[in-house]
């Protein structure tokens, strides 16, 4: 395996990459980096039409014409339909990035049952829905990469995020390991990424004081940039990471080192 690293900007050409939750934040920047490296993009989002429009405009700079699938990935039937559409349009899915998710920072005693159920459904069951529908395609082709977005709070405790969020994100890691183990024989790699404070809308719930405190507790003394998450996803989705599976990559500036 001899690779010319300076000349691999086409490494995702002819690869179909499905990214959920791509209308903004990390999902949007994931779309951009995979477009830069030549991927055929399928972008899912649920409700933010205007934000999705912005993502599409950004992508036009890279001559990328993404296939947009508006649906709720927490609903199995909708995911099934989405995957069928992708399959009939492109014939394959090479990379699945389970990025869609919500955050509802709240003290445990204030989380009602509906909120608990919604969190688990949106941040964990959605992965069941997507993996369950996409894996048969990857199994048949005996190749594939799945990357699941977890979070530092899956390992570190909540650091202000809700307990339901921590629990769902820890579930993501468990699912990642189980799928890695069960699908390795089909040469399918399943890995997770556990970011801490990345500079997106999602960290804005913190007050400036709380944000400052969290930065103080981070050895690198700063928040992370989306490029530092998307670059990791690019690596894990590439052939450079063919021997890595069941692994959770911590991207947290040293906030939590296990």
């Amino acid at each position: 395996m001899q690779i010319n690293f300076l000349n691999d900007t086409k490494m995702f050409q002819e690869k179909v990459v499905l990214i959920t939750g791509a209308s903004r934040g990390i999902g949007r920047d994931l779309a951009v980096i995979f477009a830069k490296f030549g991927a055929t993009l399928v972008l899912n989002y649920r409700s933010q039409d205007q934000e999705m429009q912005k993502t599409v405009e950004l992508l036009s700079e890279y001559h990328s014409d993404p296939f947009i699938c508006k649906c709720d990935v927490s609903e199995y039937a909708e995911v099934k339909k989405m995957v069928e559409k992708v399959l009939s349009k492109y014939g394959s899915i090479d990379v699945l990035i389970n990025n869609a998710g919500i955050s509802l920072p709240k003290f445990f005693m204030e989380i009602d049952e509906n909120e608990w159920d919604l969190m688990i459904k949106t941040n964990l069951k959605s992965l069941y829905n997507c993996c369950h529908n996409v894996l048969p395609i990857m199994m048949e082709r005996r190749t594939g990469k799945i990357i699941n977005l977890s979070s530092v709070v899956a390992k570190s405790g909540s650091i202000g995020a809700g307990a339901h969020y921590s629990a769902a994100k820890a579930g993501v890691i468990g699912l990642t390991k189980a799928l890695a183990d069960q699908f390795a024989e089909y040469d399918i790699n399943v890995n997770a990424i556990a970011p801490a404070m990345i500079d997106t809308e999602m960290i804005r719930w913190r007050s400036p004081e709380l944000l400052k405190e969290h930065i103080e507790r981070t050895p690198l003394k700063r928040v992370g940039y989306t490029s530092e998450v998307t670059g990791a996803a690019l690596f894990l989705a590439s052939e450079y990471a063919n021997f890595i599976t069941g692994y959770t990559m911590d991207i947290n500036g040293g906030m939590y080192m296990d």
Partner: protein, 249 residues
């Protein structure tokens, strides 16, 4: 994808095995490379091979357990290339002796080359990196430092586990200077180190790996390259498992 143009990397134990492939990989990504090793013959061969691939490099004969040799590695890097941006502590030895067969000398040698070598190299390079407010240190640990593995001695696993603890603590202390300290922990990898294994032993290992193959030096080198790149600039104190799913930490 990963350009290291204009950067200088020191790779210890780079004359053969995983180290030589790390040196080649970083070089192909554009870095100038210092090949540090105690093995002159293979060191010169690797140097020649890199040169033929158009990679600026210099072989430095050195024993990483000797502080004078370590100083020489660093000074050669500065005099040849003017800077050190990346340090890969890869030098190591493997032994599968049972505890009662390990002599005190063998214990010391094992701990020295992995742990003292990593300590001395970091101590030599860190002041330069602090001054520049920039640096990448990548230590090569092993799956044997994370879980019990067949065909490795307690001294080897203890040393590799120590490298990961060292990595986390150094990361905690010097991340504030924009220096990134991380590990790569390979599983059983196809190198000369496992040449004495029987086919049956290797087949047993392969059967236990979900991806049903042994690691290649390139698998580890690619993870090193990723950590050396700007894509990994928010990752510190981390160990990347490159083991085909054998151990999921």
């Amino acid at each position: 994808m990963f350009s290291l143009q204009g950067q200088t990397a020191i790779v210890t134990g780079a004359s053969k095995g995983i180290g030589s492939v790390i040196a080649l990989t970083l070089g192909l990504a554009g870095a100038s490379v210092i090949i540090a090793d105690i093995d002159v013959e293979n060191g010169n061969k690797t140097s020649e091979q890199l040169k033929n691939s158009g990679i600026e490099n210099k072989f430095v004969y050195s024993d990483v357990t000797k502080h004078l040799d370590v100083a020489n590695i660093f000074e050669t890097a500065i005099s040849q290339f003017g800077t050190v941006d990346i340090l890969v502590n890869n030098a190591g030895i493997l032994s599968d002796r049972f505890i009662t067969d390990i002599t005190e000398q063998e214990w010391d040698a094992m701990i020295d080359v992995h742990l003292k070598g990593t300590f001395l190299m970091c101590r030599a390079v860190v002041p330069h990196m602090i001054q520049k407010r920039k640096g990448k240190i990548i230590n090569i640990a092993s799956m044997g430092g994370l879980q019990g593995v067949p065909l490795a001695g307690v001294h080897y696993c203890a040393a590799k586990g120590g490298i990961m603890a060292f990595t986390r603590q150094l990361a905690l202390q010097i991340s504030q200077y924009n220096i990134h300290v991380n590990c790569v922990a390979p599983g059983t990898t196809v190198t000369e180190m496992i040449r004495n294994r029987t086919e049956e032993q290797l087949n047993n290992i392969i059967r236990s790996i979900p991806l049903k193959r042994l690691g290649m030096p390139e698998d580890t080198a690619n993870a090193v390259l990723f950590l050396a790149s700007p894509y990994a600039d928010y990752i510190v104190g981390e160990t990347i498992d490159v083991n085909g799913g054998k151990y999921m930490s």
